[in-house]
């Protein structure tokens, strides 16, 4: 297994590579052990009736998710998606084409759930679910970052992310859990965040941060924890508490709240915006993780819930929180009503930190010294879950405009990467969807190829030296893979890192 991990060469022409069957068939992420599985209520690795459990789960999901049922039936193998996945472009492995990834499951669906597949399996490409098939699922459904780029191009909107999520849920039900994601979800249930930082460590970190910022600015900028009656509860990815460059954005949020005079707090119980429940496609896990936030909001009595820079967390917050836990408008069931009464509905609930910052900037409540960012020549990387799974503001495509507006308001030099690699056609960083683990480094490096090509383009054309984004996974992934492509790892950073550099604090 000790293969040397190398970045693939840039493509000479911007076209799909020739297929290389089997190129990534040995990419296998570590399996969750029985203890990790048990923590989530999943069976362990050696379940005897794995076959029946898997097929049973598949049948259950086909009855619970219209997306899965329709997407299994509707594909015509037209090939529209075949050259859209960054993992295919980076590896050439045909099973990384979205349609072929779907077909890993569709072939089994046809065999067990459709008439032609039962009568003429060969004719329609149907096959039995064997251990080999399940292993193949495990390997290739962990080479999908659930970024949804394929769904933009599919004439029926088939979203491979939905199929990957279903596949992972079936794998979990058959005892084939992924160590990385499932271990993290377990930590959130027990401790409250993905990194397993207990409350004491959190207090320590935040106090240290206040001292650092005081040294830097001479001001008492607070990073409060568990403050009852605060206006805003900030839910941010736990990487923001200590990882580089994430922490610079956390400092940015603190300065925005300080400068605008908004009282805010973090929560030790809900010290995590990330929700890996989405990655494994499990509604109950996703809901259980999100419920910590509802509970924290109720206990702290906050009026607003704001989410920090995290891509999939914002998708869960924007698109799912109202469904899962009633954070949003229009919930009229008894369980969400208490929260509805407490929240201030003059503001969007939940709100993205970029929406908050941009609103304050537009109203001139916070102002910037753009020259402070003059050393940065900036481009913006749209994170997939923000771009294709959520929105911002009240306008169509606000998730593209608002972060860019902020960048342009706090800095002088901004350049877009080429068309077809940004906005709703953005390329994933290569590390999303539960793939941000060292045992998948090979696919992560290869999967970032299309983004690196686009970045290289603006580096060559404009001397770009800073790629801003609003996602903790993107930040960690790029920090790791940029050097493989010959870039400085500090080229990646957060939008609020730039805000932090430029925001005027002095005369408040």
């Amino acid at each position: 297994m000790a293969i040397e991990i190398k970045a693939p060469p840039y493509r000479v022409f911007n076209i799909a590579p020739a297929i290389k069957p089997g190129a990534m068939e040995n990419s296998k992420t570590f399996l969750a052990n029985d203890k990790i599985q048990a923590g989530l209520g999943f069976p362990g690795q050696e379940v005897e009736d794995w076959h029946d459990r898997a097929i049973g789960k598949m049948g259950e999901l086909l009855g619970k998710y219209r997306s899965l049922k329709v997407y299994m039936d509707a594909c015509v193998h037209c090939g529209a998606c075949s050259d859209k996945c960054h993992y295919f472009l980076g590896t050439g492995d045909p099973k990384n084409m979205p349609v072929a990834r779907q077909d890993l499951m569709r072939s089994v669906y046809r065999r067990y759930f459709t008439l032609p597949g039962k009568i003429f399996p060969k004719l329609v490409g149907a096959r039995d679910l064997t251990r080999d098939v399940l292993n193949e699922w495990y390997n290739y459904f962990h080479q999908c970052s659930e970024c949804r780029r394929c769904s933009v191009f599919c004439p029926y909107g088939i979203d491979t992310a939905e199929i990957t999520m279903a596949a992972r849920e079936i794998l979990d039900a058959a005892g084939y859990g992924q160590k990385y994601s499932n271990e993290i979800i377990g930590k959130v249930h027990v401790i409250g965040n993905n990194l397993g930082l207990p409350k004491a460590a959190l207090i320590d970190t935040l106090e240290g941060l206040e001292e650092d910022v005081k040294e830097d600015t001479g001001l008492d900028i607070r990073f409060p924890l568990d403050v009852k009656g605060a206006e805003v509860l900030l839910i941010t990815p736990s990487a923001d508490f200590f990882a580089e460059p994430h922490i610079d954005s956390l400092i940015g949020y603190g300065k925005v709240f300080h400068s605008a005079g908004i009282s805010w707090t973090l929560s030790s119980m809900a010290s995590e915006a990330g929700n890996f429940g989405i990655f494994i496609g499990n509604y109950e896990q996703m809901r259980k993780v999100a419920l910590r936030i509802r509970q924290a909001a109720l206990e702290l009595g906050v009026k607003r819930i704001v989410v920090g820079e995290c891509g999939h967390a914002w998708r869960v917050a924007y698109s799912f929180w109202n469904t899962l836990i009633g954070v949003g408008d229009g919930a009229n069931d008894p369980y969400a009503i208490e929260l509805q009464k407490q929240l201030d509905h003059r503001y969007k609930q939940p709100m993205h930190i970029c929406e908050l910052t941009w609103d304050l900037a537009e109203r001139k409540i916070i102002t910037f010294d753009k020259e402070a960012n003059d050393k940065h020549i900036i481009t913006f990387h749209d994170s997939c879950n923000v771009a294709r799974g959520s929105g911002m503001g009240d306008m169509y495509g606000g998730q593209f405009e608002i972060p860019r507006n902020i960048v342009k308001a706090v800095a002088n030099h901004f350049h877009e990467m080429p068309d077809g690699t940004t906005h709703e056609q953005t390329f994933c960083c290569g590390g999303g969807g539960g793939l941000l683990t060292d045992d998948l480094l090979d696919i992560r490096v290869k999967g970032s190829l299309p983004r690196m090509e686009a970045l290289q383009h603006v580096v060559d054309a404009h001397g770009v030296n800073f790629m801003a984004c609003i996602c903790a996974i993107c930040k960690s992934q790029f920090t790791k893979v940029l050097p493989y492509y010959g870039f400085d790892r500090r080229l990646i950073g957060g939008v609020h890192q730039l805000v932090s550099n430029a925001i005027k604090l002095g005369d408040k």
Binding site: P155, D329, D394
Partner: protein
Amino acid sequence: MTMTIMFAVLFYFAAGLFAVGLIYRITSYARIPAPLKIPTTPAPRTRFGVVMLMAREVFLFQSLFKASLWTWLFSAMFHAGLALVLLRHIRYFVNPVWAWVEFIQPFGIYAGFLMVAGLLGLWARRVLVDRVRYISTPSDHLMLALLIGIGVSGLIMKFITHTDIVAIKSFFMGLMSFSINPLPTDAMIYTHLSLIALLLIIFPFSKLLHAPGLFFSPSRNQVENSRDIRHISPWAAKLESGK
């Protein structure tokens, strides 16, 4: 007369299976809940916006246009051709023939060529592009063969062998009022009709379900209003009572 009766039975069977199968599929799609808001964003913020989006997908193949110009072109040729050809065939089922059906007759003829050309283009892609070849199953090829067979047999009757279309019309008008009128003895019409019956029969069991499927695709048919209106499915609502 034996052939006439066989075809009459075949068409009742095929049409019945087509209708029942499709209704069954559509009701099952409609019944299965979509528990989460998953429109591919940015998505329309209003129901009207979604209707417009869906219209662009149905009539213009907007997403496919973004994906691949060649596939879009061949696919548009085939579907537009097929649509015109189908409309042209209304004349076999109504009497007197409606004026607009009369009007499109000349266009419908050439649409037959367009349709077959589009199908050949799609087939060429399936064979020549390594990615598409890799994902193709035998049924994908047979489906194209079937559709081309229908188109070509129709064109042959129009331009080469000719057939007694008055008798064919009387056969189908008869079927619709449950009486059996003789079908002309003609190998080409037997071929044409058999292939059409086969298409009707496999429709509800095959990838042809992409047609109704599109309307039920949550990534396309949902309004992006998740923060404003709570969206919850019956099975998910049951979880609420636990907490």
